[in-house]
């Protein structure tokens, strides 16, 4: 196992999303958020995920609804950008 080449390496990944209800989608909301000095509410989706996948491995990700499985895959695919941490795909 140890002598196999690493195919995907995920190092201490963090991902936060800004919740849609705190985004300025209407004019009223924009003004209210500026006047009340509301900060954007963020949701921590992934908090320090690390693993290596070696070439030829079968790798499973198991988790409840909303635990961040798809987010993790989208980060590996490069669709999302991680808030912190790094991903290497060889």
């Amino acid at each position: 196992m140890a002598d196999k080449e690493i195919a995907v390496s995920v190092n201490d990944i963090h991902k936060e999303f800004i919740l849609p209800q705190s985004k300025n989608s209407t004019f009223k909301q924009t003004v209210v958020n500026i006047v009340k000095k509301n900060n954007k509410v963020t949701q921590k989706t992934l908090d320090g995920v690390s693993f290596d996948i070696h070439k030829g491995d079968f790798f499973g990700i198991v988790g409840r609804n909303g635990s961040g499985k798809s987010t993790l895959l989208k980060l590996i695919a490069g669709v999302y950008t991680p808030t912190a941490g790094s991903i290497e795909v060889h």
Binding site: F17, K23, K74, G78, V79, Y80
Partner: protein, 264 residues
């Protein structure tokens, strides 16, 4: 970092071809509309501005002069309007596949460029019928159009990145374009404007581009920035603006493009 790899070029070509095919899908005349649309527009303008409101009766080949301006302005409008909404329009793609985001904007500029090419073919036919002699100066159109592409792409980069979060931007830009159409000497010749104001007109890169194109294509009596402005600062202003718009647009786009997938 390499921007135009073989893979990226293939994606770009596919996007432009699809866009072109989808546009005329279901219409009986299909691609012919790309030629017919400018042709009819020109016919209408020709009748209006030569018989009803003869604004440029003292200008040589005025119909061709007018058409050159309209065609270049139409490209600018089409490229920036389509460019502004291009990222959001391709949202389904951006949310699922990790393609370089700038390709989406470049594809929309290229598809507008194809239309410009077709319109220019019609302009050339009109020009020959109107008695304009083909000359080597027509080659000057290449750098002029490159400058126009740079300007339109820079604005598209900026607007498309802003449009993801701020959907009002296309309405604002539309008003801006309306104002720009009249601030640029397109339907009226610059000779109708008092000479001391010419330098203010030429700070607008579109005015410089259109007047230069008319000089190259139609008549060398056209007032250009080179013949009416003598201050080096004003002379370089349109080119500096084009360069600055492109750099600012590209940097803004690059900074925000990492978050397009989650923001759309």
């Amino acid at each position: 970092m390499r921007y135009m790899t073989t893979k990226n070029r293939a994606i770009l070509r596919e996007m432009v071809v699809t866009d072109f095919k989808v546009r005329y899908q279901g219409s009986i005349l299909g691609y012919l509309w790309s030629l017919l649309k400018p042709l009819f527009l020109f016919a209408i303008l020709y009748i209006v501005f030569t018989y009803i409101i003869p604004l440029g009766k003292d200008i040589q080949h005025y119909p061709v002069y007018l058409l050159t301006g309209i065609v270049l302005w139409n490209f600018f409008t089409e490229a920036t309007m389509q460019g502004a909404s291009s990222v959001v329009a391709r949202g389904d793609l951006i949310r699922k596949v990790s393609i370089p985001r700038y390709l989406v904007v470049i594809a929309s500029t290229l598809s507008a460029l194809i239309n410009l090419g077709l319109s220019l073919v019609v302009v050339v036919i009109f020009a020959l019928f109107n008695g304009v002699m083909p000359s080597l100066s027509w080659l000057m159109m290449i750098p002029i159009i490159l400058e126009l592409i740079l300007l339109a792409t820079g604005i598209s980069f900026l607007l498309s990145a802003m449009y993801v979060k701020f959907r009002d931007i296309t309405y604002i830009w539309e008003i801006f374009l309306q104002a720009g159409f009249y601030a640029t000497p397109i339907i009226y010749p610059l000779t109708k404007v008092p000479e001391q104001f010419h330098k203010w007109f030429f700070i607008n890169p579109m005015a410089q581009i259109i007047q230069d194109a008319r000089y190259a294509m139609v008549t060398n009596t056209t007032t250009t920035i080179w013949s009416s402005v003598h201050s080096l600062i004003v002379l370089s202003a349109p080119f500096v603006i084009v360069g600055a718009v492109f750099i600012v647009g590209a940097l803004y786009f690059k900074r925000h493009s990492a978050y397009f997938a989650e923001d759309i």
